[in-house]
């Protein structure tokens, strides 16, 4: 696109009171070759917008630099299709956060940076490749089958892979289930009825089912995954657009629960085993086949326990209440449930109430300390801290252990991705092996684009929750296949049509990008040369920040662009006036600054803000360049990292911090103090703290003294 620049300066919202525009207008026209440089009393008003539109029509300007307010507001007004629009938030950064005496210089800096950004940027052109939209579902349990059915209903073709010889998963092993719908009234146990679902899957023309099958490997990228499935001794390759991981769970290994008598006494069984006993007809004791009359359920067996599963499996309380009703099919039998806390959240509380409202279903809070056997083969459950007494025993002829759920991904990558970064999903260790999302707001996010987890492999959950979960995962899978087909990124930059376009001729195969990419989007070929898979890419620019050769570029975001902007920023000659560049994440730190500005909070005039897609795209060359031209300090503002990371690109801020650890070398070469650069974690709601963080840093820089390169 032949760019024709225009600069528009808004004088509204007290901008006009604080700054003079003539100098900037002249600079724009003469230095930056803008075709137009105009002002408006209110650029977002009818007149201002009409002026811009007229210029687009009459003058053919197509690259607009709008020196007005933040891009977070007035987005509808300043939408000019077909034009590159660069919003320069002079209202916030030069006026509202600055004293009047400092506003003019800040204004000039920001506008020049904006013009350079506009000059250096290009209209995005999407990365288009041949894609398919078929969905692979791994796992043929209740989650997988529902995901397949929902995706098929929405028109997708689905390939479903189940490791067992039959579909149905755990539900097909159940004797009964709890009613699917409220109100929970007798009968509280109903047939599991998985058969109709299995039939619906197997008879659906859009669903191809592989049974006794395994995903051997997955290569490629969203829209063009090549999935190798082995089944019945043979193997088959299918091309897939997106993947739903619904590999389910397995029960925790009860043989580790010797203290509860499992493995020692025949009449100690697990909940899963009780289903099997019940299916055979009647609750009987494994030791002698006699009907069990006193059944004790030990909740949280090997759960909520640092020595076993530290988490709660969320469904065992309801399962025991359900199984208590199995016991109560014999009117003389009693079911005794020993719990730490009864967990029936939401309206499952009603199930608790109904199931409990049976004379033979008895409950108490208790900490079970052990199970012993009496001479007659009866078992004694020893409890402390029970409501029945602080140290009591309970006699039972059958003990049922509510053992927890272990996700299929706990010790098996399942996906077998042929990615440079490994075969499974990263972050599993954060969630005890569950393929869960780190993001509260975005439950289906994984760090492998186009792969969405659903059901008990994602979080411990019950059947109806798993079905809902599967539906959502189906949507995400469909959505990602759609996006990759049009070259658009998926969450969180779900609007972005740019993609990383490395200049491979200059690549040194240092592999930093392949190691650092949070999404495993970059593989290596046989020679070790990085190989970008744009379909997997989330467009955070971490590769751009990682690359020492600075060869990774997006159309509207590249190392030279940001570097040039920084260079356009003034560095006062006066030794008492430091210049500090604050490089901040546009998702959280910048909105925080914007909010501080809205509250007219003043920020130290030494700083100039430069925003990045993610702090992960922070390239060290900017530090070197800035310091060598006299910038006194650099402050990086990124999201919180570590275990509860808030970075939308998972690793961006952490990687920026990691790279800073290596900046010492650069600073040493320049003979500069390492304290001149610092990274701080800023959350979006820390707008109250940002001015102080900056003031503290400015103070520190003043203590260190001016950059010796100043004025050189």
């Amino acid at each position: 696109m032949e760019k024709k620049l225009a600069l528009y300066i808004c004088k509204g919202c007290s901008i006009g009171d604080a700054i003079k525009t003539e100098k900037m207008e002249n600079l724009a026209k003469n230095k930056y070759k803008c075709a137009i440089a105009k002002t408006s009393d209110a650029l977002c008003g009818e007149d201002g917008l009409a002026m811009i539109k007229a210029d687009i029509a009459a003058e053919g300007v197509n690259t607009l630099v709008l020196a007005a307010c933040s891009g977070r507001v007035k987005y509808e007004e300043f939408d000019f299709p077909g034009c590159i629009v660069e919003r320069v938030p002079v209202r916030e950064l030069a006026v509202w956060t600055q004293e009047k005496s400092d506003a003019q210089l800040a204004f000039e800096d920001y506008v020049q940076m904006g013009i350079i950004k506009a000059q250096k940027g290009d209209m995005p052109e999407p990365y288009l490749m041949e894609t398919v939209k078929d969905i692979l579902v791994i796992g043929g349990g209740i989650s997988g089958m529902n995901a397949a059915l929902q995706a098929a209903e929405a028109g997708s073709k689905v390939v479903l892979v189940e490791k067992e010889a039959a579909l149905g998963g755990f539900v097909s092993k159940l004797y009964k289930k709890i009613p699917t719908a409220l109100p929970y009234k007798e009968p509280l146990i109903v047939d599991a009825e998985i058969e109709p679902t299995i039939k619906a899957v197997e008879s659906n023309a859009n669903i191809k089912v592989f049974k006794s099958a395994k995903v051997e490997k997955i290569e490629g990228q969203p829209g063009a995954f090549d999935v190798t499935i082995t089944a019945n001794g043979g193997s088959e390759q299918v091309r897939i657009g997106a993947i739903i991981l619904a590999a389910g769970w397995k029960p925790y290994d009860a043989s580790k629960l010797g203290h509860l008598g499992y493995g020692k006494y025949k009449n100690v069984v697990t909940q899963v085993e009780l289903e099997e006993i019940a299916r055979k007809g009647g609750i009987t004791r494994p030791s002698d086949g006699k009907p069990a009359k006193k059944v004790a359920f030990i909740q949280c067996a090997g759960q909520r326990d640092a020595n076993h599963l530290p988490y709660c499996s969320a469904m065992c309380c309801v399962t025991s209440l359900k199984q208590a009703k199995y016991v109560r099919q014999d009117p003389e039998a009693v079911a005794m449930i020993l719990y730490k806390d009864i967990r029936t959240p939401g309206r499952l509380e009603y199930y608790y109430k109904e199931a409990q409202n049976d004379p033979g279903v008895m409950l108490t809070k208790a900490e079970v300390s052990g199970v012993t056997e009496g001479p007659d083969g009866n078992l004694f459950v020893e409890m402390t801290d029970s409501l029945l007494g602080s140290a009591v025993k309970l006699e039972a002829d059958l003990v049922v252990l509510a053992t927890g759920m272990v996700p299929a991904t706990a010790d098996d990558p399942v996906l077998n991705l042929q990615y440079r970064q490994g075969p499974g999903l990263p972050d599993l260790e954060l969630f005890n092996g569950f393929a869960d999302s780190n993001f509260i707001c975005f439950q289906y996010e994984t760090r492998r684009t186009g792969v969405y987890a659903a059901g008990a492999v994602r979080q411990p959950m019950n059947m109806s929750e798993a079905q809902e979960d599967a539906t959502g995962a189906a949507l995400k899978a469909i959505q990602s296949a759609e996006h990759v087909a049009t070259g658009m990124a998926v969450h969180p930059r779900a609007w972005d049509l740019t993609y990383p376009d490395p200049m491979m001729t200059r690549c040194t195969s240092c592999k930093r990008c392949t190691e650092e990419c949070p999404f495993g989007a970059i593989d290596e070929d046989e020679k070790g040369t990085p190989y970008f898979k744009p379909g997997r890419c989330r467009r955070c620019g971490t590769c751009m920040g990682a690359c020492p050769e600075r060869i990774v570029s997006f159309k509207d975001f590249h190392v030279d662009m940001i570097g040039s902007m920084m260079k356009a920023c003034s560095v006062p000659d006066d030794e008492d006036e430091p210049r500090i560049l604050v490089v901040c994440c546009e998702n959280d730190a910048y909105p925080a600054i914007d909010t501080a500005a809205l509250q007219k909070t003043k920020i130290d005039p030494a700083v100039r803000f430069v925003t990045l897609r993610c702090l992960g795209s922070m390239n060290l060359v900017w530090l070197a360049d800035s310091f060598s031209r006299g910038v006194d300090g650099m402050l990086l503002m990124g999201c919180k990292f570590g275990e509860n990371y808030q970075c939308h690109f998972a690793k961006g801020s952490e990687l920026a911090n990691y790279r800073l650890g290596k900046v010492q070398e650069t600073l040493d070469r320049l003979q500069l103090e390492s304290d001149r650069v610092k990274m701080v974690e800023v959350a979006i709601d820390e707008y109250g703290k940002v001015p102080q963080m900056i003031a503290d840093f400015v103070e520190k820089i003043k203590d260190i003294g001016p950059n010796p390169f100043k004025g050189m």
């Binding site: 409990q356 409501l387 309970l394």
Partner: protein
């Protein structure tokens, strides 16, 4: 680790449910009940733990505890219970079962608490008194003959010294013996279940208990069913008044040889009439309160209503008999007096098994509670 073995008893739980505790399984052990209860001790408060024991059918823990009697069924717990488990009702059922458990013979307990036997229970005194009329020759073809033309005096048909008093004295002895047996067992059970050493001697515990009963000081703390304590107090004191009346009347006859009917100006008449009216007022209030609090605390069981019926019957027939005598309507008056005798018999003879027994068991429990430093 203690060797205490919990033995759940489904049958006992079912029995409590059948005895009016049908909501007991709804309890989820939040202890709202113990907190809203103003009459429970702070240490090991009730009724939360009793609800758990009831759910597990722990008969020993429930029937050998004074706590169920420390409850005055104010129903604050029931009103605030988040699950509709009605602890007040459940404890009421447990109290009923306590009476049945310790009273003997146990068949009597069952009969008193079963509507099927109500007619039989009334038939016994009816037959006794008809038999007395028969002996005196007041029956013609099996139908009582009403004395006519004379000044009305119930002693004409029912001479106290020869016929009435011996029956009631025997009845009273029976009741006292039965109560004694029950209380003895109950005390022993409580003592066995509460091995902690007592802090008070029995005498001062008894004194404190009597003080508490006379003032209703604990009962008055009730919130939701506040009116109940007033009604109960009226009924209680009317019984005290009637007891005084009976004692006075007995002394007139046996000490001063002064036979009735007494003039309305006589002190015994004063006390008797005031007490009788108070009884009717009190018991009417009891009934109204039950209807008023029906939603929050439940209407009560047959056990409750049988007792209310008897008390009401005693009061009403007594007052009417007097009015009919003064109005000189012998054709109604004599049958009414007959009915009165039947009701009074029912009240006393079945007292060890009916809700009347609460008077004794509650008092015992209160004494024990004080004796064992429970309240």
């Amino acid at each position: 680790m203690s060797d205490q073995i919990i033995k759940p008893d489904l049958k006992f739980t079912e029995a409590i449910i059948a005895a009016g505790g049908e909501s007991l399984k709804k309890c989820y052990q939040c202890s709202t009940c113990t907190v809203v209860c103003d009459v429970t001790p702070d240490r090991k408060p009730f009724p939360r733990k009793e609800m758990l024991y009831a759910q597990w059918g722990l008969k020993d823990k429930l029937l050998a505890s004074p706590d169920v009697w420390l409850c005055h069924q104010c129903s604050d717990c029931t009103a605030h219970c988040p699950r509709g488990a009605k602890p007040g009702e459940v404890l009421g059922a447990v109290r009923k079962m306590t009476i049945q458990e310790y009273s003997s013979p146990s068949c009597m307990g069952k009969m008193v608490n079963d509507a099927k036997f109500a007619i039989l229970l009334f038939a016994i005194p009816t037959i006794i008194f008809l038999f007395e009329l028969f002996i005196q020759g007041h029956l013609t073809n099996g139908i009582p003959r009403i004395p006519n033309g004379q000044l009305m005096s119930y002693s004409l048909m029912f001479p106290p010294t020869a016929y009435i008093d011996p029956v009631f004295v025997l009845t009273a002895i029976f009741a006292v013996v039965m109560f004694y047996k029950g209380v003895k067992k109950y005390w022993a059970a409580m003592a066995a279940n509460h091995p902690e050493p007592p802090r008070k001697d029995v005498i001062s515990a008894v004194i404190a208990t009597i003080q508490e009963i006379l003032t209703h000081s604990v009962f008055e703390k009730c919130g939701v069913a506040k009116d109940r304590s007033i009604a109960h107090k009226i009924v209680f004191y009317s019984f005290v008044g009637l007891a005084i009346t009976t004692a006075l009347a007995a002394s007139y006859i046996y000490v001063f040889n002064y036979n009735g009917p007494y003039p309305q100006t006589n002190i015994v008449k004063w006390i008797g009439n005031v007490s009788g009216i108070a009884l009717l007022v009190g018991i009417t209030m009891v009934i109204l309160n039950r209807f008023k609090n029906q939603e929050k605390s439940g209407i009560g069981s047959y056990f409750d209503w049988f007792f209310i019926f008897i008390v009401y019957g005693v009061g009403l027939t007594g007052m009417l008999a007097q009015i009919l005598r003064l109005a000189n309507i012998p054709v109604l008056g004599y049958p009414m007096y007959f009915a009165h005798l039947v009701f009074v018999f029912v009240l006393f003879a079945y007292a060890p098994y009916s809700k009347m027994a609460h008077m004794v068991y509650r008092t015992t429990a209160m004494v024990f509670a004080k004796y064992s430093n429970r309240s």
